[in-house]
């Protein structure tokens, strides 16, 4: 099932892909504008592409976390490789989804990318420069060219009696395993040939070959105990045994077994006959060569063998874009690899994530000249270019995402990854382009702006919401607008709205806002507002006495604007309803103030409504005065002994009406 899927993916790679690759290569003119268009249209239309972008961003964030956790050391290759594999999983998933939608060309293109990425992963991330590269290449070839799942079910279904055609297919499968270097797999498959119905000679051959194939030594880079010299010795001994078996005629009479044994011995003629059978691509041939002739070559030496393979197969002039990238990767020429990848797959996703992995792996920080000296080869290590390249890709991809309607938050994590806080101004610029279409969206933007400390942006966004509230909601939204003005920290706007509420509205400000007003924006010029806030808070909380004190203090200090005086008094009449709120000369102060205000008001512009309000106030104040006098009178008349019963004897405030 698994392998079947892969082979289905991979088959078009071998047959169809070069054409599509070439077509894309000749037409591609990468530019930021096109990418933006691509991102806008493609992301929205296909949910699976969006999933691909989100999944990529999540792995990217993990890479950054690992990078920070290990800094200043590079992230160990094992971790980087596993992260790279995650990216490849998403690529394969994308292929699968593209196929499901019927877009086979793109599916081929991306399965090619997985193939190329896998090779780059070996060259730049997972392999060690001082250890053989072969084990990784064996995996690479096996993953992409394994046909076991297609052929094996047929073989199993036919049991011990294999038809001629199936036998041929089985042999092809065994050959491919031998070519790929997965000899243990090949040994397992041989058992299908050596069943009970097979001749005794065949059974003997199978047993002998199984032994040889299973015994083939393998170098395990992850196994620290296995030293290279030990491996070399084992390999030479094993190959000698193969040669001995061949020379002893152990497989005489069976051309297939003889050919396999010759291959194991590293015989050039046998290799040539493998090519002649048409079983093999140049990638496989190169690995075949390494498997049985040069199993210990280092990554930097690979190019020479690849060129030799291409020459042998007469393919030097027939290279495809994909092959060119592989050759660049063998040169460890990361710049060319990234350039070609960008040219072929016109999607910043690819080059960015690959370059980021190479950056995290830290080979960019290795002293390249020292390495060259130590290894004495002339491979060009141009890793120093990875940093600026990565930065460019980050900028491009991050800004592309930031322009997207719903994916924009993803852009942040990419721009954040730019070194030395270079992403901050870019994020700020992108922020300026974002218009919140709702209060909710604005809140989200403000929160992010707060995280980055973009004071001006917060101010801008809050101002925008504030003004739209004022424009759309009129006076009913004035307090809401005030809240946003306070959030914006814009004193001028705040003052204007407060003015609007006080003069044009009902002079009622919510307590929550008053708190905010007190704590946030008030300066000396807003002394009145400060006092007014205290007064309003006292009134709304039912602390009548505090309200009166605050009001009288405002009157004595003369901070109440004239035009507002009547409004403030009449809108807060509740404090005049309880005479016990007043003490000392409070009533006198207020009465004088009301009279003075009335006179001024008459002088300015006469308003019968206001006059009525003032008369009402006057009446209330007279009532309070009467009440105060009665209280005083009663206290003096009843004397000290009745003071204890004050609560019973004191006037109920309402009684003052009778006087």
């Amino acid at each position: 099932m698994k392998a079947e899927y892969k082979s289905k993916v991979f088959r078009p790679l071998v047959t169809l892909a070069p054409r599509s690759l070439a077509a894309v290569l000749s037409n591609s003119t990468p530019s930021g504008g096109e990418l933006t268009t691509w991102s806008r249209q493609f992301f929205v239309d296909a949910p699976f592409v969006r999933n691909f972008v989100v999944a990529g961003a999540e792995v990217f964030a993990t890479v950054q976390k690992e990078y920070k956790a290990h800094y200043p050391d590079p992230v160990p290759p094992k971790i980087v490789t596993s992260l790279s594999r995650m990216y490849r999983t998403f690529l394969l998933e994308l292929c699968q989804n593209l196929k499901a939608t019927g877009d086979l060309t793109s599916a081929d293109l991306y399965s090619n990318l997985d193939f190329v990425w896998n090779f780059c992963e070996i060259m730049f991330l997972s392999s060690h420069p001082d250890f053989p590269v072969l084990p990784y290449l064996v995996d690479w070839i096996h993953l992409n060219f394994d046909l076991t799942s297609e052929i094996l079910p047929k073989v199993v279904a036919e049991g011990s009696e294999l038809e001629e055609e199936t036998t041929l297919e089985l042999w092809n499968l065994i050959y491919s395993h031998v070519f790929h270097g997965t000899t243990r797999e090949a040994a397992r498959l041989l058992s299908y040939l050596g069943g009970e119905s097979a001749s005794s000679t065949t059974q003997r051959h199978v047993a002998l070959m199984e032994e040889l194939l299973s015994k083939r030594p393998e170098f395990r880079p992850e196994d620290a105990a296995s030293s290279l010299t030990e491996f070399e010795a084992l390999f030479t001994a094993w190959q000698e045994e193969c040669v001995n078996r061949l020379e002893n005629g152990a497989f005489s009479g069976s051309p297939n077994f003889t050919l396999v044994c010759k291959i194991l011995c590293g015989d050039d003629e046998a290799f040539a006959s493998a090519v002649a059978r048409g079983l093999i691509t140049w990638y496989e041939y190169m690995v075949l060569l390494l498997n049985y002739k040069y199993p210990t070559i280092r990554p930097a030496q690979l190019k020479a063998y690849a060129v030799r393979t291409l020459q042998q197969l007469d393919l030097v002039d027939k290279l495809e874009a994909r092959d060119a990238i592989l050759l660049h990767a063998m040169d460890l020429d990361v710049v060319s690899v990234l350039r070609e990848i960008t040219a072929v797959w016109d999607n910043p996703w690819v080059a960015l994530h690959l370059s980021d992995l190479i950056f995290a792996c830290g080979r960019s920080s290795i002293s390249t000249s020292a390495q060259k000296q130590r290894r004495g080869d002339d491979a060009s290590f141009d890793f120093a270019c990875v940093v600026p390249l990565r930065n460019d890709f980050l900028l491009e991809y991050g800004t592309t995402l930031m322009e997207h309607e719903t994916l924009w938050q993803m852009g942040l994590c990419y721009l954040d990854a730019l070194p030395d806080g270079k992403g901050r101004p870019v994020i700020r610029t992108c922020f300026q382009h974002r218009n919140p279409f709702s209060e909710q969206e604005a809140q989200k933007l403000v929160q992010i702006a707060e995280r980055y400390g973009f004071g001006d942006e917060i101010k801008g966004i809050c101002r925008q919401i504030c003004l739209s509230k004022l424009k759309r909601g009129g006076s009913s939204q004035a307090q809401n607008a005030l809240l946003w003005a306070i959030k914006a920290g814009d004193e001028a706007l705040t003052t204007r709205i407060v003015d609007k509420i006080l003069f044009e509205g009902d002079a009622q400000i919510d307590v929550a806002l008053l708190d905010a007003l007190l704590a946030n924006v008030l300066d000396a010029s807003l002394a009145f507002l400060h006092e007014f806030s205290i007064f309003r808070r006292a009134v709304s909380e039912g602390r009548g006495r505090d309200g009166v004190v605050s009001l009288c203090s405002m009157i004595k200090r003369g901070v109440i604007p004239k035009r507002l005086a009547i409004k403030i008094l009449s809108k807060n009449e509740s404090i005049f309803d309880d005479g016990s709120n007043f003490e000392g000369d409070d009533v006198t102060t207020l009465m004088e103030y009301v009279q003075r205000t009335l006179v001024t008001q008459r002088g300015d512009d006469y308003n019968s409504e206001e006059e009525r309000q003032v008369t009402d106030l006057n009446r209330k104040l007279i009532k309070i005065r009467a009440y105060r006098i009665m209280c005083e009178f009663r206290r003096k008349a009843t004397g000290a002994e009745e003071e204890e019963e004050d609560s019973n004897t004191e006037f109920v405030y309402g009684e003052a009406d009778d006087y």
Binding site: N51, V54, E58, Q96, Q440, K471, R472, S476, N480, A512
Partner: protein, 411 residues
Amino acid sequence: MALNMSRAMLQAEFDYDHSNADHVFEHRTNSGLSFNNRENPAIKVHKPFTVTVQTGNNLGKVRWLQDNATQLIPDPHATEHLISTTCGQLKSDITLWKLSIVQDEYGKFNSQVNSLCTVESPADVTDVVAVTDEVFAVTTSQGSLSLYKCPRNEDDTFNRIEHTSTKHLHNLRSGSFECPCPARAVATNFSSLVSVGEDGSIHQSTATTNENVRSLDHADPLSIYCVDFVSRSEILTGNGGGQLKRWDLREPENKPVQILNPNFAMNNIYGVISLAVHPSQKHLVIAGYQSGCMDLYDLRGGSRCDPIANLASNEGSLSELYFHQINPDHFFSCSSSGQVCQWYPGHGSFNMQDGLMYTPDVNIEFLKRGLIFKQLNTSLFPVNSMNVSKHDRLISGGDSGVLFCTEISAQ
């Protein structure tokens, strides 16, 4: 413990190998098949599952389609339905999903989430509430309250969503100019619906016919962000200035019966974005703020009482809060910093408000023992919504587009 989709997936794929590529694909599919039940088939013990589905759109709200009026004993094998809505664009998709636990031939229980159908809402959906196990109400950014019904087939399955009715309720007026204003939240007591909006209005409608019963126009001078019922006819709202207001819908005046002001020093001018009312002690309320603060209030304290305790102050606004209905010592939160947390009594700490000691009439276990939490899911992107079902499953969704579903235990 159940991890974030990406995390769980990343863990699963950390030792990625092409030879098990199919296994990896199991975890992320568009059709939504995914599971991590890998127990020994011989031992048929139910283990908590976690399902993640990439939906390909920013998720605004996720809600179980269930009858919240009744309570059941949780059944780990029950099939349930849920509603998700998309956000971030001018219109929204409403999708009905089915979560089923299927036993395969080896006796293994696998959980699946499949999408059943999608309808488009002409405006961005701002809140969803399930009225019954077939009917749900949504509010939109165009100020409307709509009812949708998922008709049940004869074989007890669902396969479509029908739009029943829409009422435009929330408007802003400036002179002769009138425009729709976003409704922000909707709550139900199963006979009526209450919607609140950024215009500060509160509208009560019938849950069956969506007819307007009572309107409190511009009752709050600030935007109202959240609402919940605290009794049959009393609601609690949270506004943009951080105030909680209790309204009695029977009162003729458009005035709140109680106002609770936030702890200003901790909240500055952040709004209340989420509310959770204790299921058995309706006077206890947790308010979640945009600042990331989470305060516990006792409504019996009268107007202007301070919160009893500040339970937490994190980064990122607390998008939603939810009490476990059977064991309310456990509650859940999700936040714009990408976390979905389960809070429960344990050896932890929180700030009691000054001068307030634990009082025996507030019967909350975590006030006595302390409060701790575990993260059920973390995401790079804001988690906008979550919900807990009667069968102890939690779903969450956010700007990453991942629908995350996990089984919880509240013991």
